[in-house]
Amino acid sequence: MRSEEDVKKAIYTYSDSIKRICILYLKSPQDTEDIMQNVFLKYAMHDKPFETEEHRKAWLMKVAVNACRDLLKSFYRKKIALTDVIPEMAADEDSQDGYVLEAVLSLPAKYKEVIYLKYFEGYDGGEIAQITGRKLNSVYKLLDRGRDMLAQRLGGDDLE
């Protein structure tokens, strides 16, 4: 079992990233909290050392992705207004961000995962394959299709 110091540090460093993964799957605030506790408890019980910070982060993301998928599988979730989960958004109604967010979140899970990991977290194909547990080729295919679908939903704007 890891030390409380270690766990505290991980929570303060990586909570943002883990919360975003949770939002990606559109969890209620309660579910987000549960998943975060779940992820960091697993971290606490994981004794093998990490070679780098990137390694640690990627491990945490993989656990978070799996935890969210498991929750999705377990029962049907009600659709919740985005502003409930992301209060910052309610304040900024004019911005484009809301549309982009909605567009990404509306993608089927397998697309939004890879799109998010690549365009937000900046992972490459190999890293995405590890975190999502998919084959490299599948990742590339999903990225292609995901980009097409996103482009359609955002009205042909490109991502940059």
Binding site: E4, S15, D16, M36, E88, E160
Partner: protein, 204 residues
């Protein structure tokens, strides 16, 4: 910055969420029984030792059967008045114990050393009351070691000196020849020892 980075960039975990997460996780960590690394290592070491032991026994049986285990290749004789002879196998375990006189037989009845490592067997015998009183009286012990193992006689001597015994220790060549019979020969020089027959060493 791409649009996705911008859109998701606003999503952050606030301090309240981080604190709450830590409190809950720490609480759960404290209630978990700590399976420390040391305990795990010891458990694994025990398991390994158990498996290794089984394999050794299996190999011994495969390698020639029970009689290889039970065959003495060395002998240690102790003469002080109880006189005993221990037959020791190639793995340093006592596989035969013979009383060379009545007192010796009785001693072996009281102290069962079969199966023990010969050093432990000696310790056990020395611990016996009768032997202890011999030591206290200052009786002189005569040991005879018959073995191909050069270190055995040194081990016997160091055990003797460790108990403050008066002793002398004789080494008889190797163990493949005949060994002492019922007529207890104290300090036998009968062996055609490789180290020139006598090789007395005196302690104390």
């Amino acid at each position: 910055m791409n649009k996705i980075e911008k859109a998701f960039g606003n999503i952050k975990a606030d301090d309240a969420l981080k604190e709450a997460t830590f409190e809950k996780v720490a609480a759960q960590m404290r209630t978990r029984p700590e399976k420390s690394k040391v305990v795990k290592q010891r458990k694994n070491a025990r398991r390994f030792a158990a498996v290794a032991a089984v394999l050794v026994v299996a190999l011994v049986f495969a390698g020639g059967g029970y009689h290889v285990y039970a065959k003495p290749v060395s002998y240690i004789t102790m003469n002080v008045n109880p006189s005993v002879e221990l037959g020791i196998n190639r793995w340093d375990k006592v596989v035969e114990c013979t009383g060379l006189n009545d007192d010796g037989s009785e001693l072996l009845n009281r102290v069962d050393v079969k199966g023990l490592n010969y050093k432990n067997a000696m310790e056990e015998l020395i611990g016996d009351e009768q032997i202890q009183s011999c030591i206290n009286k200052g009786d002189e012990f005569a040991f005879s070691v018959t073995s191909e193992d050069d270190s055995m006689v040194n081990e016997v001597e160091s055990i003797c000196s460790g108990h403050g015994m008066k002793y002398h220790c004789n080494r008889e060549g190797n163990g493949t020849g005949e060994h002492h019979g019922q007529n207890s020969e104290i300090n036998s020089n009968g062996g055609n020892g490789q180290n020139g027959g006598h090789g007395h060493r005196h302690g104390r």
